[in-house]
Symmetry: C2
Subunit: 152 residues, 2 copies
């Protein structure tokens, strides 16, 4: 059984993701935010204010890393951090007006990055790609480490 790198899904996924992330990071320099910061901003713009832990899951950023990123973003007036009223242990992260404005200024470029990534694909192919990536994530996400090759 030969191992075919060019047909191996984890490789194809990683390679595409790394290359796209590298390009996007470079573009984000012009906006003065890092890629993880942009992910946080995009998540907050779409989903509204979030508990830090939920934001970590949403962005796939490790919690302690996100804690520091959130602190840096607060220092730059992009987000606020406040204790939850319901659960005083939880911290709610929310976009400031400045953060929202900056995020909205990036969104049009972000759409360009997506267009570039899927250039040459039909709308239907893009839809299929999104669906498959969502399903793949569902298979590999979650607290369970790695159940096994089949999940049924």
């Amino acid at each position: 059984m030969r191992f075919r790198l060019g047909e191996y899904v984890p490789y194809l996924l990683s390679r595409a993701g790394v290359s796209l992330a590298t390009n996007v990071s470079r573009e984000l320099d012009a906006f003065g935010v890092s890629l993880p910061m942009w992910r946080v901003m995009a998540a907050l713009l779409d989903e509204g204010e979030q508990r830090l832990g939920d934001l970590a899951r949403l962005t796939a950023i490790e919690l302690s890393t996100l804690s520091r990123i959130a602190a840096a973003m607060e220092a730059r007036n992009l987000v606020t951090r406040r204790r939850s009223g319901q659960d005083a242990r939880a911290v709610i992260i929310a976009l400031t007006p400045e953060g929202r404005a900056k995020t909205e200024s990036i969104v049009p470029r972000a759409m360009d990055w997506e267009s570039m990534a899927v250039a040459g694909m039909t709308e239907d192919e893009v839809r299929v790609l999104k669906g498959l990536l969502q399903r793949l994530y569902g298979n590999v996400a979650g607290p369970e480490p790695l159940p096994g090759p089949e999940r049924d």
Copy 2:
């Protein structure tokens, strides 16, 4: 225009890639190799010995990082480094017999990781996913930074 995180390809790609990579890294601990090392080993197993620069492109690992990884792998007898005969500037990286044996011992588990990632997908869907990821990579790879939203 609302920004839909759950429909945004770069996000879906990153989220899936990060989650899968985290799982795979954890599994690779048992083999005593890091994820970047496994990528290098898999590339060498499939494509044969490579110049360092080609290996960097193949694995999407930054060149200076790969240089250090290759040194570490050489120290562990997984690969050899030798100067190319045709171009004495170039360094050829090749699997040692031990490196090859270790790589081949990982391959079956690697196939499991892929199976887990695509669980629930038909063979046809997997084929489509691979094709789309390859095309996406083609759109975002290359020396050109970011040409624009359309490439025609």
